[in-house]
């Protein structure tokens, strides 16, 4: 177990350093913080709501992450393939899954750091009013899980191609599909000609459906299980893609 973990943490450390050695991390953090602030205080109607909560912030996150998480994850495997370093990495004494998990954890940690940097908003609402900090905390848990799910999908699309642009677009499309199947304007439309149970069943696959629970402060094990299974499935698929690519 220890040696498994040692290899994973070595890979994760290198990956995390790679974010900060290039301008990627700083550009990402600045853009994320600017955009999340912008959405929260303009379209989110932070002040108009007349309540001390971060709902305005959390409501926009699935859409903001839709573009930013694939941008953070698109290089994970396609860059390895483009540079040829995948050949180095996979001929070192590690199992394929360790490399996949190590890279994923590093990126996830990076996204969690980005989320943590939005703490001034928490300070702001606490200063302005008397929010339910439990709801805010569960909102952050949901946001971190959402980022993890999008990221695992980006890992998978990144393994498919050596072209980062293609990896990015594919990840956005898959993540968008996972939003839309539970996006109420669309499901309402669908409900006009499909039976309600079908619409509801499809909506169960949406990240929004499971994300909303966290935003209401409800920690439901089914929601947790949903996000964890999306991650596990996407990372497993990443392994299959990488293995098939090597088999030729």
């Amino acid at each position: 177990m220890n040696s498994h973990w040692a290899a994973i943490s070595t890979i994760a450390k290198r990956e995390l350093a790679a974010y900060f050695e290039s301008p990627v991390a700083y550009v990402f953090l600045v853009i994320f913080l600017l955009l999340s602030g912008f959405f929260t205080f303009t379209f989110g109607g932070f002040f108009e709501r007349g309540e001390a909560s971060l709902a305005a912030f959390f409501n926009w996150l699935p859409w903001l992450f839709l573009f930013l998480v694939p941008a953070a994850g698109m290089r994970l495997w396609s860059e390895e393939r483009r540079l040829g370093t995948i050949e180095l990495l996979l001929t070192m004494p590690v199992a394929g899954w360790q490399a996949i998990v190590g890279k994923f954890l590093a990126s996830w940690l990076f996204l969690v750091v980005a989320l943590a940097l939005t703490f001034p908003m928490v300070v702001t609402v606490n200063w302005l009013g008397d929010p339910d900090n439990g709801v805010i905390a569960s909102g952050y848990v949901g946001a971190a899980l959402l980022a993890g799910a999008y990221l695992a999908i980006s890992c998978m699309t990144s393994a498919l191609t050596r072209n980062q642009v293609i990896a990015f677009i594919l990840a956005v499309v898959v993540c968008l599909a996972l939003i839309l199947v539970g996006f109420s304007p669309l499901t309402d439309l669908l409900a006009r000609w499909a039976s309600p149970w079908l619409v509801e069943a499809v909506a169960k696959f949406s990240v929004l459906t499971h994300y909303d629970g966290f935003q209401k402060g409800v920690l439901d094990s089914r929601d947790l299980l949903y996000f964890l299974s999306v991650m596990a499935y996407a990372l497993f698929a990443t392994g299959v893609v990488i293995r098939n690519h090597r088999t030729g």
Partner: protein
């Protein structure tokens, strides 16, 4: 140390490696020769466990690559073709990463890095980003990565490609020196290299071994006594091979 038996690899309908068998013992340096696309890199990738063979088996230090991939990988140092490396890292952090991946920590890691830095003459560029290095330094950085855990088996895919004559000479000397205690396979296009560094050579053409012997034996088989003439007489160039298909 390395035992390859009936190794084959197909990509779709194309047979890249076709029933290759050979052995390399400790203290042997095997030169791997052949035209471009003959299957040299593919064979090496199968030995290092990067790609699985379609048929046949590879044993390294008595362990089957397919059954014990991780144990085998521990014993191999590998320089892939074109010497890839993480271009945004510095030489030192790249070597630290390679050493840690090989399970080296603390003093063991420091000593291992000091040894390969000296061996590959990287002292002057340790803090530099790999991106900014000349081709020769980038190449030697990747070679250092392959040597950091002092492996029993070395697989080097075109280790002198893109180096200047002085650097080529140094790498050759290094290979010959290390070959005394390890089992080494290296591929090359430069026939003099075989005479300079190898104890034995294999010529491979369109996936098959067409000659196997000491450099002197191979030379003797050409009417002119030149390795190059022998090479040309038993392998086909890309254009001739295409015409035959």
């Amino acid at each position: 140390m390395i035992k390859v038996e009936n190794l084959s690899k197909s990509f779709g309908s194309k047979r890249a490696v076709d029933g290759v068998s050979f052995e390399v013992g400790k203290g042997e340096v095997l030169g791997f020769l052949g035209p471009n696309g003959a299957g040299k890199s593919t064979t090496m990738r199968m030995i290092t466990g990067f790609i699985p063979p379609s048929a046949g088996s590879v044993m390294v230090c008595g362990l089957a690559v397919q059954e014990n991939p991780i144990e085998v990988k521990r014993r191999i140092g590998y320089l892939p073709e074109a010497a890839p490396s993480y271009s945004e890292m510095s030489v030192l952090s790249f070597l630290r990463f390679a050493a840690e991946m090989r399970g080296l920590r603390g003093d063991a890691r420091r000593n291992a890095i000091r040894r390969v830095v000296e061996l590959c003459h990287l002292e002057s560029v340790l803090g530099q980003t790999i991106d900014t290095l000349s081709k020769g330094f980038r190449h030697r950085t990747c070679l250092a990565q392959a040597l950091v855990h002092d492996p029993e088996v070395l697989i080097l895919d075109e280790p002198t490609d893109g180096l200047d004559p002085n650097q080529k000479h140094e790498v050759r000397t290094l290979i010959r020196h290390m070959g005394e205690t390890k089992a080494i396979i290296f591929s090359t296009h430069i026939l003099e290299e075989v005479e300079a560094a190898c104890t034995r050579a294999i010529i491979i053409d369109r996936g098959r071994i067409v000659a196997n012997g000491t450099p002197a034996e191979l030379k003797a088989r050409a009417a002119t006594g030149k390795l190059e003439d022998f090479f040309r007489s038993i392998t086909r160039s890309d254009t001739v091979a295409e015409a035959a298909v």
